[in-house]
Symmetry: C2
Subunit: 304 residues, 2 copies
DNA sequence: ATGGGGACATAAGGTGGTCTTATGAGCGAA
DNA sequence: TTCGCTCATAAGACCACCTTATGTCCCCAT
């Protein structure tokens, strides 16, 4: 993700900043530079200049201007679609960051395991905001034990965990499933195997693993019927991914965590015969205290 | 995607700019502010100040500084993961934009249909760049006929199309599949149906459609056995999505186009009984002229 | 035909953010 | 103790962006 692009300045020098991308989206939607400027709360000359420098930066004409409005060029339509992806990722970032900031005085306090906080919760928060714009949500992340502790101490209203078991004292509802996937670097011999790996082969191979106690590792041990053999133990999903990409060896990771890498083929998913590497994602709350109000609202968004 | 966040300044005011996010990723990876600064080609004080303003902007401490290095805080780890998603989207943007710019003097000229150019090609280009950093790729987007025309005129080396049929004069290889999905707004009655829609129901319902001649619409007509009934006809996938979200009615769209909306539940996918809404995505080239060199390289990345 | 109003472009000037250089302070190892 | 690494702070330069003010083009309505 990082070396060869230093060649001509970093990403930030080649990709317009978020404000410019938002402007482009607004122009595409409204069909007018001036109208887009008004929506963003800037003046029309500012929008004009900003769009022009974006076109200069990209070396592509994005918008056809005319005395009666502006329309995207063909290239502009493509760029706008890519820009939409960047803005969507920024919205996820924003939703998450807002929840982290508002640790105090929030109407809904959520505790979640890392994987859920990372990949799913911001999306739910965006959906929640769309329906109930005034709900301030705060987010605390930790492992299952930490989530349980926060809920039982009354410091969180709703929790999300991903382990095999539900911590004592909590009721739960399964809200989704998550498959674990065996992944390797594209150059790894497994990436060219004609047929699925067997459970025995997987169990016999040293793997790059998260530290003992992580939810992913629990599920893996259970599925293999024996503790997985560690090649290295690392402390974050990200570190594991980096190690796999660099060719250190295979790993078993959540589908959620490797979606993008599989799509861009930096990682290759290896199919495995007969291992049910599936785990439940659950919402949890103190026994008897069924979620109400905003917590109930959020819960209903996660079903499916 | 757009109204309620105007409340406290636009996204660009609440999300750090790309350079700051890249800095955060570098700090996370290298464990040192100064080392991250060197990697990005800026001075250490600049990195220090930039990181500090990001923390002020977000209202969250991201990094624990010490005289012998810096480590992410718990919140910092989450923010870094969200930042990684934004940066990844920016890399896709950049890969696409570079290909659009380099319309002349490129070693590999690719012509692709809109859906492929939008959702898949930038990822392939990133993977290609990782393996062959010096391959300049140019991209031309258009419908199947346009792709065929460019290939036959020798103005493109490799094409990608998504229709049901392969244009005359071209050889092809199926590289992936794409499922079409019926989608509605969450409030639509279909979203709460206990069981799958029947083909007949779908065929009898007026739908929001792309204009006649689009690849998506061809496949839909074929699957229904009769032309779909239009409720409105719109000119871009994005416009169709916006109409569905606003509650205008159901639509049938590529899985690729609605992945994010389904995940955040702004759209609901409706299952349909017995309609094979599947289409092939194909690489194409002039009959006899098998792809060689960079084209062959790119093609091999798309398999799977 | 002719003015009004919408569209976008251009010019000139202010402002703020972000970079640089220069320096200081804490900690650990030789 | 001294060197090397870490990060922080201060002062100044610079640049990018925004605003205000104006000009041009085109369409429509009077």
């Amino acid at each position: 993700m990082s070396e060869e692009q230093a060649r001509s300045g970093s990403l930030a020098h080649r990709v317009p900043e978020l404000g410019a991308l938002e402007l482009l989206l607004a122009v595409a939607r409204l069909g007018s530079l001036g109208a887009a400027a008004r929506e963003l709360g800037i003046t029309q000359p500012a929008a004009s200049s900003r769009l022009r420098s974006m076109e200069r930066q990209l070396g592509v004409a994005l918008v056809d201007r005319s005395p009666r409005g502006s329309r995207l060029t063909d290239a502009g339509a493509l760029v706008t679609d890519w820009a939409r992806q960047v803005v969507a990722a920024a919205e996820v970032f924003d939703a998450g960051a807002q929840a982290l900031r508002a640790t105090r005085d929030s109407r809904l306090r959520v505790a979640a395991s890392m994987t859920i906080a990372e990949y799913l919760l911001p999306g739910w928060l965006l959906a929640l905001r769309a329906g109930r714009p005034d709900t301030a949500v705060s987010l605390l992340a930790g492992n299952s034990a930490k989530v349980a502790e926060l809920l039982l101490a009354g410091e969180a209203d709703l929790g999300f965990v991903e382990g095999l078991t539900v911590p004592a004292g909590l009721d739960s509802a399964v809200i989704a499933h998550d498959r674990l996937t065996v992944v390797t670097a594209p150059a790894h011999p497994w990436a060219r195997r004609p047929r699925p790996l067997t459970t025995a082969e997987l169990a016999a191979t040293p793997l790059i693993l998260r530290e003992r106690g992580s939810g992913t590792r629990q599920v893996l041990d259970a599925a293999l019927g024996a503790p997985a053999r560690p090649l290295i133990e690392l402390s974050s999903t990200t570190a594991v991914k980096a190690a796999v990409i660099s060719g250190a060896g295979p790993a078993v990771l959540s589908e959620l965590a490797v979606g993008e890498e599989l799509a861009t083929r930096r990682l290759i998913g290896i199919s495995v015969d007969g291992v049910p590497l599936r785990r439940d994602l659950r919402a949890v709350w103190p026994t008897g205290h069924r979620p109400t109000g905003p917590a109930r609202e959020l819960l209903s968004l996660t079903r499916g």
